[in-house]
Structure formats: C-alpha cells, structure tokens
C-alpha cells in the first residue's frame, strides 16, 4: 500500500505555519514568535526565514498579503504572509503526526501520562 499521508514538514516550516495559523504576520514577527515559543532553541536566521517563506509561497502553503489594515508597513518594505488552506492542512497533519509520537512516548512511559 502506498503511503498517502502528507510528507513531513521541516521544523522551520512547521513553526512558521504554526505562527501564521493565528493570523497574518510579517517576517520579523514570525521570527520573534518562533524564538519565544521554542525558548530560543530555534533561531530563524534572516536567510533561513525569508528563504523558507519563498519556498512556502512557491509550494502554495503560504501567500503574500497586503497586511491588516493599519499595520505598520515600515515604508513599504514589510511583506505580510497568510497561511492558505493547504498550509493549514499540512500544519494540522504535521501536528497530528507529532502527537502520535508523543502518545507513543507516553505509552512507553518516556513521558508521564496526561491528566484527564
């Protein structure tokens, strides 16, 4: 049987999509949120951040937007990004995949059982 599950996302893509799932953001905000969420363990360096954003746009998981009304555009240099339906599906699938690993870790008591 061929595996029909979506391909795994790279950690950077997952973090970017996770950030954008809350709403459209510009690159700097994405970088800050990812750094905060991962407690500094993942730094999205400028080349890495914008390179991955270009590839996410090319893959149809993210699209560029004009940004929310009244958002600071810093002289028109800031680009805003919004997650697409395909991006949300991919992010959800990745989150489920990660949850399966966490569940497996709990079953094997690598992690404590979750409270009801």
């Amino acid at each position: 049987m061929p595996d029909k599950s979506p391909p795994c996302l790279s950690p950077q893509w997952f973090q970017i999509l996770l950030t954008l799932s809350a709403g459209e953001q510009h690159g700097l905000a994405i970088m800050r949120e990812v750094a905060d969420r991962t407690e500094g363990t993942m730094t999205l360096w400028p080349g890495m951040l914008y390179g991955n954003l270009r590839r996410l746009v090319d893959a149809g998981l993210v699209r560029e937007t004009d940004g929310p009304a009244g958002a600071p555009a810093r002289g028109g240099t800031r680009r805003y990004y919004q997650i697409t339906a395909a991006g949300r599906t991919a992010c959800t699938a990745e989150a489920r995949r990660l949850r399966r690993y966490v569940d497996a870790a709990r079953e094997r008591r690598v992690l404590p059982q979750s409270r009801p």
């Binding site: 700097l28 360096w45 390179g51 270009r54 680009r79």
Partner: protein, 871 residues
C-alpha cells in the same frame, strides 16, 4: 549600530541575489532585531553568536538556492528552453552552420589525429603478452639495421637468460596458382616456433612441427583467414587441400584467425627450413623474434645483445657489427611514422583551441546582439543564471550536432585513409574511430563550446551598458574585453599553423622539383640466388650475372642495363673514404657496388673520366667513380683529375695498410636517400668479380618498352636460365621516388590542410568578434555619424580597434612557430626556410584578417544615425 548595519550590508552580499532583491530591507531589520535581543540577553557572547550565525546562514542560504536550481529539475522549463534555443538557432541559420562547421572541422582533425596516434603508438598488438616480444637485428653505424643469421640467434639464445623462446622469419611476395589463374600474395617463411613465440595458434588446423621445418620434409603451409576464404570458400574447406606456391605444391595444414597478420600483411606462411639458404651463416635475410621471460627482462636482453655483439666482433673482426633488441612495435610501425603522430596531435589540438576561441567569439557576438532580449529576461526575473543556462544549452546542442558531423566525417576519412596512404599496414590497424574516441571527441566539443558560452555569459550583464564610450580613433571594447584575449590567441595560433603549412607546402614543392639524378623510367628487378646450393660457388653466381645481363641486352628497345648491390631509395650504406693526403680526416661517402652498365641504366650522368667496363671487373684492381659532391669533399673541387682514394671502412683495410683505389670517373649528383634528403656524396665501386658477386642483385634496365613489358622479358630470361631463382620487388625509379616521399607528402598534406582549416576558423572567429564589437557600439557610431563623422572615419575606427590585437597575435604566432622548429624538422628533416614561411604566413593572415573585418567595418561606415536614434 550604524557600523553594524554597514558590516551586515557587506555580509549580506553573501546571500543569493534573488533573496537580496526581494527581502534586503526586511532581512536587515530581522538581523538587527536579533542582534539587539541576543546582545541584551547574553552580552558580547550573544552578539558573537548572532554574527557567526548570520554568516553561516548566508552561506547556507546560497547553497540552498543553488541546490534548488540544480536538483529541482523542472522538465517543462527545460523543454521550453530547448524549444526556445532550437527556434533561435533555426532563425540564425548562417551563424548556426558556421559554428557547427567550425567545430566539426576542427573536431574531425583532432579525432583523426587521436585515431592515428592511438593506432600507431598506443593500441596493444594482437599477440599474447606483446610487451615481451622483441625483434633481434644486426645493425651498424654505417649500414643501419640488417637482418640476422641463424648463428647470431643461436649465440644470442645460448648466452641469454632473458629469452623464453626464439623464432625467425622473412617476408616475401609469391605467386600462388589456383587452377588456371595466379595471384601475387605477400607471405613469409618462418621457423616452426613462430606461432608459439607470438602466442597465436591457428584457428583451424595446426602450425607445422620442427620435423616439418627441414629441407626433406613434405611441404606444408598455413594460410591467412582472408586468403583461405578467397581460395576455398571457407576456412574448414582449406584444410588438406594442395596449393601451388611459386613452383612447389604445399599441403594446407592450418588457417590463422581473421585479424592475424604477421609480418605486416602476410597471408600465408611456409617452413623456413625448406629454404636452401636458410641455414647459411652469411644469410642476413632473416629477422629474429624472441619472447622474453617477462616484461621486465628488457635491460637484461639489451645487455645480453651487447655481450653477443662483442663475440661477433671477435669472430668476424668487424667493428661495425652490433646486435640490437627492439620492441616488436618498431618493426610494424617505423619510428618516423610514430614521430609523425606527436606533432600531428599538437597541430590538431591547436586547431581545436582555435575553433574553441572562434566559437566563444560567436557566442560573444550573439550576446551583444541579444542584449535587449536578455535584459527583458532579467527584468522578468530570469536572472544571470537563466541567461547562462540558455547559452550553455545552445552550446550543448551545437556541439552535439558538430560531434555527430565530425564522427561521420572521421568515419569516412578513416575508411578511405589506408587506401590513400602508400604504406603497408597490418590488418589490425584500423583508422576508424571507436566508441571511446568518439565519446572523447564529443566531450571535447562540448567542453570547448560550453567554455565559449560561459565566457560569453560572463559578459551578459555588461553588454547592456547604455552609454558607449569612444576614445580617440578606437572603440572602447567595454564588455567585450575578454574576447580580445581570445582574438590574440586565435591570431597567434592561426599564424603559427599557417606558417607551418606554408613551410611544409613550400618545402614539399621544393624537394618535389629536385632532380633525383636517376632516370625515373628505369626498372629495378631484384633476384635472389638463394634457391640452390650450387650458387654457393662465386663462379656460378658470376656466370648467372653475365648470362642474364647478356640476354637482357637482347630485349627489344634495350638502352642499357646493369646490376647494383643495394637499390637506391631502398637501402644505402655509408663508408669512410679518404685521399692519400688526408688519411686522418676521412669523409663519409654513400657507397654502391655496381657492374658495368649500371650508371647508364640508372640514368646517372657521367661528368668526367669514363664509365666502368667489364675488363675492370675481370682485373684484380678495384676502381671507383665518385659523384661531384664526393669529389668536393675529397679534393675541394668537383673537377675530375684522375685522383686516387682510400677506403677506410673495414678495420682490416687500415690494419693491413689500405691500398689506394683509382678513380676512373666523375658522375653527376644523385639523391639515393630520397628527394627530401640532400644530394649524396656517392662512391660507385667496381669490385673485381673474385671479390664480389651478389647473392641478391638489383637488375636495372632502361628500355623504350613499357616497364611491364620489360619485366615480362626479364622474368622469362631468368626463368630460362634457372626457374628456381625467384624475382621480386620490381619497381620503376619513379615509383621508388614516390614511395620514398610518402611521409613527407603526408606530413605536408596534413599540415597544409590544418593550416587552411586554421585560416577558415580564424576568419569565422574574428568576423564574429568584430561583428559583436560593431553591434554593441551601434548607438555610439550613430551619434558620431550624427556629429559629422564620415563613413571612412567610422570604418577606420573599427579597423584601428582590431589592428593591435591582430598584430600582437601575429607576433606571438611567429615566435611560437620558431619554437616549433625542432618538432617540425622531425617531420621534414631536409626542409628549410621557416623564417620566410612565418613572414609569409603573417602577410597572408593580415590579408585574411582584412577580409574578416571588412563586413563589420562596412556596416559601421554605413550607420544611419536617424534610423538608430529612432530605434
């Protein structure tokens, strides 16, 4: 912070251009934010971490972009680009054809040079462990290489620890009779061990045993594959059949496989033991072949040969004799043919280099013409990489077509070449390029054209400079700068090749026009008295000689006839001679032992004194005639005055007190070593019959009849006297001259052809370059025309822009040609006048360059400013 911004902007140059173009400001903002946060949290360590991380990020992001470009192969895009390139090539048909022709001509030349060099110097010989096979010959500084006797081989094998097995053979042409027809076929007589020494058994049947290699054994023969099929229809059917070779019937006991030919093109082999002269100690007709114990035994074999040489000198008392051991390849391809392949490779490589430079120029021109197209592509996001990709694709398509054309051409030339060469080549030598060489040449074509495309692509961005500069009377080359270097390389290479071509063609014409000193219609027929024991007696040999010469005089239309010991243009021998006043300073003369009538038969003109008569041969005093060059060497004048000379070649003569020999005449000079060699200082010896009667004689006959008619008569005369005496190797002097010139002719032909190719190729390249220059500067030229510059001025501006490059190239080429003096003289030893050839080549190149630049200069002169400015 400002300093950090400046440093980051420098660092950000490491990022890909695409990323910078789209996100430069955002990335800078993100970096500064990171730097601020990390510095706040961790101080200097945080700042260092951010700087290091940014550097790694820049490098990694660049690599990621490149990986995407290469790994993510978008077939649709490739297909579209191929379609685009093909359409472009079809639109520019003339340019496409010129590039394909330029590359294919150069590639064909390179391919053929590679094929010849491989076949002659590198291809393994088709014998088992051919590296262990050696040829044993006698040689002497005066006489060159000779055959060996059985005694020599016996001495060598008994005294050597390096020899595993030994065999001997001699090649000859024989008449084979099949029913009512006969055919002349090259063959060889050989010892029973030849098949074992070569490591090649017959494919059908067997080789003969040592018992069958004796005079009394039943005659047996082994046939070559092609001959067996020709005579009997199949190899199996040939076994046990009888075949008449000359006047003897042989039973066929074996057939060799289809690619076996040894020596050279032999098609049948018979036991040497059946030849009466085989075991005679003075018979030097044999060639020895030995199989060494291993490939490392060469130095031991050479030392053994030296030791045997010393024994031979002691036994013979002849200081000149030396036994030499040389690789088998030397027998099959002579050293001159092998030397030929190296300069040939160099010349072909230069032609390919020239073609590559021309193609690069064509691409540069293409870039200049397509400047707007590439600008639009870039504006649409195509980028420099896309432009390069298109050019490389174009180069690959062109080189593929060129490689296919070259392969077809090389195949056709390779098939025809053996027939064009007046050279006997073994059957395993094939001048048709194999798959590996074709692949190598295709790779060469691709590499050369892609290199040209990349050079052109490097100037892609810069050809779009909107403002064109002019300085004084020349044009600023601007973006076409790299092409200037190529133009110089092209002119230098073309000048060098053209110089060599003119030199070769000029010299070949010169020595082709040399009077050989011989009559070209003289027929030489070689006979051998080795067929019967009764010729061991000198008297019977002399009787045979006189009887045959008497009968030859009765041939209708007979003019003159005589016999010479060594045939000119085939084998000549030098000896040391001196006058009684200059015994300490002997001179080297080319000696020929002759009978009365030979000089007139060979057409050698008598300048003074008298010709030799039979009474000279019957007396016990040797007499000689000398050529004018010899007389000048001996006496300082070429006026005959009846001097005496002394022969010093043999040590015995000097030890016993050399006797003066009377000079009875003076002859005109001849070229017995070939027309490409200087006139020989010749001495014609008339040795008394009790001291010299030849085993193998070369009968020279001059007659008013055609050579074939004369040959028929000679054959009948010899057969009537003794049917067992074979005659072979008949040639007219004209044919001998032609055969002696084949190497020089081939070298001159190849160099001339490559010189012409070089000139054509350089015209394509420089025409393209100047065309590109004018195309890229059209606006500037239009402005100049609008400001009042005349057409002559504009055309002159173009000419002055290219002139320094052409002159620099020609100067470099002339120096290059003078450096090639050594290798060139290896090709044509007697040729001279390289300096004048270089000067002529320079002048020819100047004229050719003028024609190459003329269309572009005319285009510049006819620039219409109104049309240009409107555009």
């Amino acid at each position: 912070m400002k300093r950090s911004v400046r440093v980051y902007r420098l660092l950000s140059r490491l990022y890909s251009s695409e990323l910078r173009r789209l996100h430069a400001a955002e990335m800078e903002e993100a970096f500064l934010d990171l730097l601020a946060r990390e510095s706040f949290k961790r101080g200097i360590r945080g700042a260092i971490r951010v700087w290091a991380g940014a550097a790694v990020d820049a490098i990694r992001s660049r690599r990621t972009v490149r990986d995407r470009a290469t790994s993510g192969l978008n077939l649709d895009r490739v297909r579209a680009e191929v379609r685009d390139v093909v359409r472009h090539l079809a639109r520019r048909r003339a340019r496409t054809v010129s590039v394909v022709m330029t590359m294919s001509v150069a590639l064909t030349a390179t391919l053929m040079a590679m094929v010849v060099a491989y076949e002659v110097t590198l291809k393994p010989l088709p014998f088992r462990d051919a590296g262990q096979l050696a040829i044993v010959t006698r040689s002497s500084p005066a006489a060159g290489a000779l055959g060996v006797t059985l005694n020599d081989l016996g001495l060598f094998v008994s005294g050597s620890h390096s020899v595993q097995a030994v065999a001997a053979f001699n090649d000859f042409d024989a008449t084979l009779f099949t029913g009512t027809t006969s055919l002349r076929v090259p063959g060889a007589y050989a010892t029973a061990s030849l098949s074992r020494v070569l490591g090649v058994p017959p494919s059908v049947g067997r080789w003969w045993s040592s018992e069958e290699d004796t005079p009394d054994a039943a005659p047996v023969a082994v046939l070559g594959h092609a001959l067996a099929v020709q005579l009997f229809g199949a190899t199996d059917l040939a076994l046990s059949k009888q075949l008449r070779i000359q006047d003897q019937h042989y039973a066929i006991i074996g057939v060799m496989h289809d690619r076996f030919t040894f020596p050279i093109d032999a098609q049948f082999w018979i036991p040497a033991g059946r030849q009466p002269a085989y075991a005679r100690s003075e018979n030097l007709d044999l060639t020895g072949i030995v199989r060494l114990t291993d490939a490392a035994a060469w130095p031991v074999a050479a030392a053994d040969a030296l030791a045997v040489s010393s024994r031979l000198v002691r036994m013979d008392g002849n200081v000149d004799v030396r036994l030499t051991v040389s690789p088998l390849r030397d027998l099959i391809f002579d050293s001159q043919a092998r030397r030929l392949s190296i300069p040939l490779m160099i010349t072909a490589a230069l032609t390919l280099l020239l073609a590559g430079a021309s193609v690069a120029n064509v691409f540069v021109m293409s870039m200049a013409e397509r400047g707007v197209e590439f600008a639009v592509r870039r504006a649409l996001g195509g980028g420099a990489a896309a432009a390069t990709r298109l050019l490389v694709l174009e180069a690959l398509i062109l080189s593929t077509v060129a490689a296919v054309v070259a392969a077809v051409a090389a195949h056709a030339i390779g098939t025809a070449l053996p027939d064009l060469l007046p050279l006997r080549l073994p059957a395993f030598v094939l001048f048709e390029p194999g798959g590996l060489l074709l692949a190598a040449s295709a790779a060469l074509a691709a590499a050369t054209t892609v290199a040209g495309a990349l050079i052109a692509a490097s100037s892609a961005g810069r050809t779009l400079a909107p403002l064109v500069h002019t300085r004084g009377t020349t044009i600023d080359w601007g973006s076409l700068g790299p092409a200037r270097v190529m133009a110089v390389v092209q002119c230098a290479t073309a000048c060098s090749l053209a110089g060599m071509a003119i030199w070769a063609a000029g010299n070949f014409r010169a020595f082709n026009a040399v009077d050989s000193g011989f009559d070209p219609s003289t027929l030489f027929v070689t006979y051998s008295l080795s067929a019967d024991q009764r010729y061991d007696n000198r008297g019977t040999r002399e009787t045979f000689l006189r009887s045959v010469l008497d009968k030859v005089q009765e041939i209708p239309g007979h003019l003159s006839s005589g016999v010479v010991g060594r045939r000119p243009l085939d084998f000549v021998q030098d000896e040391q001679w001196a006058t009684s006043h200059s015994l300490t300073t002997p001179v080297r003369l080319t000696a020929a032992t002759i009978t009365p009538g030979y000089l007139a038969a060979a057409g050698i003109e008598l300048m003074g004194g008298r010709d030799v008569v039979w009474s000279n041969r019957e007396s016990d005093q040797e007499v000689v005639l000398v050529s004018r060059t010899a007389a000048r060497l001996l006496w300082g004048t070429d006026l005959w005055s009846g001097e005496q000379v002394i022969r010093l070649s043999a040590v015995r003569d000097t030890m016993s007190g050399a006797r003066p020999i009377r000079v009875i005449g003076l002859t005109e000079d001849t070229h017995p070593r070939g027309l490409d060699a200087p006139a020989a200082a010749a001495v014609y010896r008339v040795v008394p019959s009790q001291r010299w009667t030849p085993w193998v004689g070369h009968l020279a006959v001059r007659s008013t009849l055609p050579p074939q008619e004369v040959l028929k008569h000679v054959r009948e005369i010899i057969a009537a006297h003794d049917p067992a005496v074979p005659i072979y190797r008949w040639r007219t002097m004209g044919e001998l001259i032609d055969e002696s010139l084949w190497r020089s002719r081939l070298a001159a032909w190849l160099l001339s052809a490559l010189g012409v190719i070089a000139l054509v190729v350089v015209v394509v390249g420089v025409h393209a370059l100047v065309g590109a220059l004018v195309s890229s500067k059209l606006r500037d030229l239009g402005i100049r025309a609008a400001l009042g510059a005349s057409g002559m001025t504009l055309g002159g501006t173009v000419a002055w822009s290219i002139a320094p490059l052409v002159l620099l190239g020609i100067g470099t080429g002339a120096i290059l040609t003078s450096l090639l003096n050594g290798p060139l003289h290896a090709l044509l030893p007697a040729a001279t006048g390289l300096l004048w050839s270089s000067v002529t080549a320079a002048l020819v190149l100047l004229v050719v360059m003028t024609f190459a630049c003329a269309p572009a200069a005319r285009r510049a002169a006819r620039v219409d400013p109104v049309t240009l400015l409107r555009r």
